[in-house]
């Protein structure tokens, strides 16, 4: 009886019906999954594109800041941008190498000539422009052409002098306070000569 039932199942029309059922189910699953898979893939592409846009925007910001302050890279905003190079251009070894070379030349102890520093700065800007795809439109001379009028130079000099005067005033204010806090450390004036007077 069992054998007869099994043989009954193997009839062609039943097998065909079963396979047709499987095909229908598969089609239904595919129809359900396809838009979801498409949406997920689109989201992945969108996210990657947004990340790429973000990275490029950060790189452009850093490049733009250094470019506009290249006449005097000791300005605060330019210093911030320089210190972001390793992060913003983490995937650009040429840029990071050029920054390392410029950084070495900024060490006053090495006494690197000014024209060498300028050349390394231009090299850094050129490497950043190449990484951003701007190098075809920018020449090395473009990085050396800087508009830095006397009015701006004077403004920077005034800020520097004001900063020095403020530091001097604050240092003078803290020195008497230290002397009062530690009277036991006072040295006898008869043993230590004072400073000469200011030249007239």
């Amino acid at each position: 009886m069992f054998q007869e039932a099994f043989l009954g199942i193997l009839k062609p029309e039943i097998i065909a019906a079963f396979l047709s059922f499987l095909a229908t189910v598969s089609a239904a699953v595919a129809a359900y999954r396809a838009p979801i898979a498409a949406a997920e893939y689109a989201e992945t592409l969108r996210r990657k594109s947004a990340d790429d846009d973000n990275r490029r925007r950060i790189k452009l910001n850093v490049f733009g800041q250094i470019m506009q302050e290249r006449a005097d890279i000791s300005q605060r905003d330019c210093v911030v941008a320089l210190n972001l190079i390793d992060v913003a251009f983490y995937d650009a070894p040429d840029v990071r190498e050029a920054w390392a070379e410029l950084y070495q030349s900024l060490d006053s102890a090495r006494q690197v000539p000014g024209h060498v520093r300028d050349e390394r700065l231009r090299k850094l800007l050129r490497a950043m422009a190449a990484d951003l795809g701007l190098a075809d439109n920018l020449r090395l001379d473009d990085f050396g052409r800087v508009y830095f009028p006397n009015t701006v130079a004077e403004e920077n000099e005034v800020r520097r002098l004001e900063r020095q005067a403020t530091m001097k005033r604050l240092s003078a204010q803290s020195a008497p306070a230290q002397a009062q806090a530690s009277p036991a450390e006072t040295v006898s004036n008869s043993q230590t000569p004072g400073w000469p007077p200011r030249p007239g």
Partner: protein, 114 residues
């Protein structure tokens, strides 16, 4: 007391500020430095009065201000100056030195004989 080879200190006052220079004078050469890494290097001879007559090249690093009130700028500054330390420098209150960037008054102290 005549000026002889040895280790010296100089308390220097310019138009803007004061500074301390440590230097060595020996065998006709004189070299020194101050806390701001301003370097002094040159030569000297002893004159007929026992005073030390010297000429040094002064090299200052960038982004600083010398005691004369002159900014060293973004590239540093170098200049040459002559000076004389008289034989009675220890009795004098100070010695005036005229540099290309302005005058300074210096009190010299001898620290150790060489």
């Amino acid at each position: 007391m005549a000026v002889t080879s040895g280790f010296y200190a100089a308390l220097i006052t310019g138009a803007d500020s004061e500074g301390l220079v440590m230097f060595v004078a020996h065998d006709g050469k004189i070299t020194g430095v101050d806390p701001s890494k301003v370097l002094f290097d040159g030569t000297y001879h002893i004159d007929e009065n026992g005073g030390l007559v010297g000429k040094v090249m002064v090299k200052a690093p960038p982004n600083g201000t010398l005691v004369q009130g002159v900014s060293t700028g973004p590239h540093g500054i170098s200049y040459e100056t002559s000076f004389t330390i008289p034989d009675d420098f220890e009795e004098r209150e100070f010695v005036r030195i005229t540099t290309p960037l302005g005058p300074v008054n210096a009190k010299f102290l001898k620290l150790r004989e060489l």
